[in-house]
């Protein structure tokens, strides 16, 4: 099976788009997320500001994710790196490896169901957006 290749600029663009989405998502759902965690703003942000390391970790992780996603779609072969294939791959990966892990880990940590919903939907948005960017820009 031949490999279609990876467009690293597309990977970077995908990571930037999904990272911005994450900022918007948790900005909009901040109160609900904290309620799902059962923590207060003071507990999560002792200095009043979020720890900037979190944003760096988040960006690097999404860069890795976009690179892996591009690699997986690329393995479908030349001519197969389409928006449709990208989104389908992202949906399968989210369902099979992200949602499953979240449900299991949250279950054993006694986390509230709302947390799984908020975090699960966040990663769904991240992966679909990355797939769209990767598919639209192509290799």
């Amino acid at each position: 099976m031949t490999f279609a290749g990876i467009n690293h600029l597309a990977v970077l663009a995908a990571a930037v788009v999904s990272w911005i989405f994450g900022a918007v998502w948790y900005g909009a759902l901040g109160k609900q997320w904290m309620a799902a965690l059962g923590k207060t703003k003071e507990e999560l942000m002792p200095g009043g500001q979020p720890n900037p390391v979190i944003f760096v970790v988040s960006f690097i992780a999404q860069l890795i994710m976009a690179e892996m996603l591009a690699g997986l779609i690329g393995h479908l072969g030349p001519g197969q790196f389409t928006v449709k294939n990208a989104v389908i791959s992202a949906l399968f990966i989210w369902f099979g490896f992200v949602l499953t892990v979240l449900v299991t880990n949250h279950g054993f940590q006694h986390a509230k169901r709302e947390l799984t919903v908020i975090d699960g939907a966040h990663w769904l948005g991240v992966m679909v957006l990355q797939a769209l960017v990767l598919g639209l820009i192509g290799v």
Binding site: F97, T104, F108
Partner: protein, 176 residues
């Protein structure tokens, strides 16, 4: 609108859902799924038995981790889904044997499991130790799953017909 008409409409826009779904899951090896599920449970049981006290300290609340049937059932369903998906990706990527299984498992872990755990736990302000403990658990479970699916493929256990000709993962070159 009846189902036949709906199916015809979907086909017209290129969506043949029954066939596409069948294509994605046509390879399901029930014997491998069952073996991977049992192996995953054993791995989790041994692993959290070893690191359980560190894990409990990191999580920090009272009754975490206690055995309830509901948690085990949800965890079991999650593992079945994961095994099916891993097998599906191995099939699509052409990495069918045990080494291919481990290779695919590690790539999926690196890209999508390790990353999401790290980010989620960083957001929660949880200690890095907990993220590492849970990440490594999934690495071990996925590795065992890939090994089992690949070995069953190679040995022809649970597959109909002769075992597929297994090739090791080929070195890929990245373009662009």
């Amino acid at each position: 609108m009846d189902l036949t008409a709906l199916e015809a409409k979907l086909k017209a826009i290129g969506l043949d859902l029954p066939a596409q779904l069948a294509n994605y899951v046509s390879h399901i090896n029930s014997a491998a799924i069952l073996a991977a599920l049992i192996a995953g449970w054993i791995v989790g049981w041994i692993y959290y038995g070893l690191v359980g006290s560190v894990w409990k300290d990191s999580v920090g609340t009272g009754k975490v981790g206690e055995f309830t049937p509901r948690r085990q059932i949800f965890g079991g369903i999650a593992q079945v889904i994961m095994t099916v998906m891993l097998g599906s990706f191995m099939q699509r990527l052409g990495y069918l044997g045990p080494y291919g299984g481990i290779h695919t498992a590690w790539l999926l872990w690196l890209g999508f499991v390790m990353t999401t755990i790290l980010v989620n736990y960083a957001n929660l302000g949880k200690r890095l130790g907990l993220a590492l403990i849970d990440s490594v658990h999934w690495l071990l479970v996925l590795t065992v799953m890939g090994l089992i699916i690949g070995s069953f493929n190679q040995l022809g256990i649970g597959v109909s017909g002769a075992p597929a000709a297994i090739s090791q993962p080929v070195a890929t070159t990245t373009g662009g």
